[in-house]
């Protein structure tokens, strides 16, 4: 299986096609519904964000607490469609891509194509596998949101499928 490491160069992005299975390593940031709302509030007020957006990859996930002796608890993806109202603006501001599960809207597909970025599908339900692949983790914003806070994670060999590629082709469209 193809191994890729973040950040991805434009050439590496071009070589990824919808349906490809990959093992991804590197730095990612978790954010789901509540964190996105707060990030948008910061953007609207002109305040700095908890992490640099340029080329950052967001993982739509909220982990279980880490058991003793482990870096991270179970940590699979959440449904990406709930983030459709946030993704296009973040991509236009420089976001490097997203990891989640399930289809995303036509607006998000357009934004991925426009910005030449990729949306990866993690395997929904494989929480233990993803949790074990997290090698370092720290909360960088909104700790009061518990599992919904923003965590910076260093991950190794995340098994993913290229769901929507930088050409706008989607693994969910089969007609």
């Amino acid at each position: 299986m193809k191994k890729i490491t973040l950040p991805l160069s434009p050439t590496e992005i071009e070589r990824l096609h919808a349906g490809d299975a990959v093992l991804l390593s590197g730095k990612i940031y978790t954010a789901r519904d509540c964190a996105h709302k707060r990030i948008f509030a910061l953007l609207d007020e002109g305040n700095p964000l908890p992490f640099p957006l340029e080329n950052a990859v967001i993982y739509y996930a909220g982990p279980c607490p880490a058991p003793e002796g482990k870096v991270c608890g179970s940590c699979g993806p959440t449904t990406s469609a709930r983030m459709n109202s946030f993704a296009p603006r973040l991509l236009d501001l420089g976001l490097g891509g997203m990891i989640g599960k399930g289809e995303m809207s036509a607006e998000t597909v357009d934004a991925l194509k426009r910005n030449k970025k990729v949306y990866f599908a993690a395997i929904g339900g494989a929480g233990a596998t993803y949790g074990n692949a997290v090698k370092r983790m720290k909360c960088v914003a909104f700790p009061d949101l518990l599992s919904e806070a923003v965590y910076e994670m260093e991950v190794e060999n995340f098994p993913l499928v290229v769901a929507i590629d930088s050409f706008g082709k989607s693994v969910y469209e089969r007609n």
Binding site: P65, K101, A121, G125, A128, S147, V161, Y172
Partner: protein, 278 residues
């Protein structure tokens, strides 16, 4: 009369919750293995990853999925039982609270408006039913919301009949697409009232995958709905394929002459349901 202290119920829920969060039911595991043999490409990759994940969760003593769910608990209490000790709902919540803390499970319950997390995954969603005898059956279903969100209820007209029921089930799964973590398990309630119908659908999810309703006409309807769903080509994780649902379970109850309520409760492929009789 048999005296049962609610502490026993609390401890039972603690045991069931810890086990459920980390284990697929045997019938779910078998259905996933069967699906993995039928699929190739991205769907095959996803199904193998899920089986590996279940092994990983067992080995590492971790939750299978990070969405350890809303704690749905159904108690069938024999009317010969006298409950003593802490109030029942309090004892149930106590069991949930302890299990979600000790198991390092995610706390996913929040206020619907402020979105403030309750911090301990309580309150549990508790259903009680008084039945004959002096036993208590406890069912624990941790319900993830990726799939719960895709559920639907429709008040059909009697004229729409079986045809209408099957197409509503199939449409609901189609609309859900890749979002609820397919291959899904579909619980269907048919009949009763608006609220009763939804509860029937949830109860249908307590059945083993692949089981059939004892009523022959209902069993036939289950098979027909499953065939329709599996022709949708949604497949595991929405990557396309033959297995969009692992099973369809229907529960029926008498309804009003003017109505035909149908509720479709979607469960993801991560079926975690534990039961015990006290």
């Amino acid at each position: 009369m048999r005296v049962v202290n609610t502490r026993q119920i609390s401890d039972c829920i603690y045991r069931l919750a810890l086990k459920a969060g980390r284990t697929l039911t045997n019938s779910c595991r078998a259905a996933l293995e069967n699906a993995a043999q039928q699929e190739t490409g991205a769907a095959g990759f996803a199904l193998s990853a899920l089986l590996e994940n279940a092994d990983c969760a067992a080995r590492e003593n971790m939750p299978i999925c990070q969405d350890t769910g809303m704690a749905v608990i159904m108690l069938e209490i024999g009317q010969g039982v006298y409950l003593e000790g802490a109030p029942l709902a309090q004892a149930v919540d106590d069991g949930v609270r302890r299990a979600y803390a000790d198991g390092y499970f995610r706390k996913s319950i929040c206020d619907p408006l402020t979105r403030k997390n309750t911090g301990d995954n309580t309150p549990a969603h508790l259903h009680t039913e008084i039945v004959e005898g002096d036993k208590i059956s406890v069912s624990f279903l941790p319900k993830g919301f990726g799939s719960e969100n895709m559920s639907a209820l429709k008040m059909l007209t009697p004229a729409e009949g079986e045809e209408g029921i099957v197409s509503f089930i199939s449409e609901t799964v189609k609309k859900a697409g890749s979002r609820p973590c397919p291959p899904v398990y579909v619980g269907v309630g048919i009949g009763g009232s608006f609220d009763g119908c939804a509860l029937l659908a949830k109860k249908a999810l307590l059945r083993e995958v692949g089981s059939r309703n004892p009523r022959a006409d209902v069993a036939k309807l289950e098979e027909r709905a499953l065939r329709e769903i599996n022709s949708l080509n949604i497949g595991a994780q929405g990557f396309g394929g033959k297995v969009t649902a692992l099973g369809v379970s229907c529960e029926v109850a008498p309804t009003h002459i003017a109505g035909l309520p149908v509720a479709v409760n979607i469960q993801c492929h991560c079926i975690r349901c534990e039961k015990e009789v006290l």
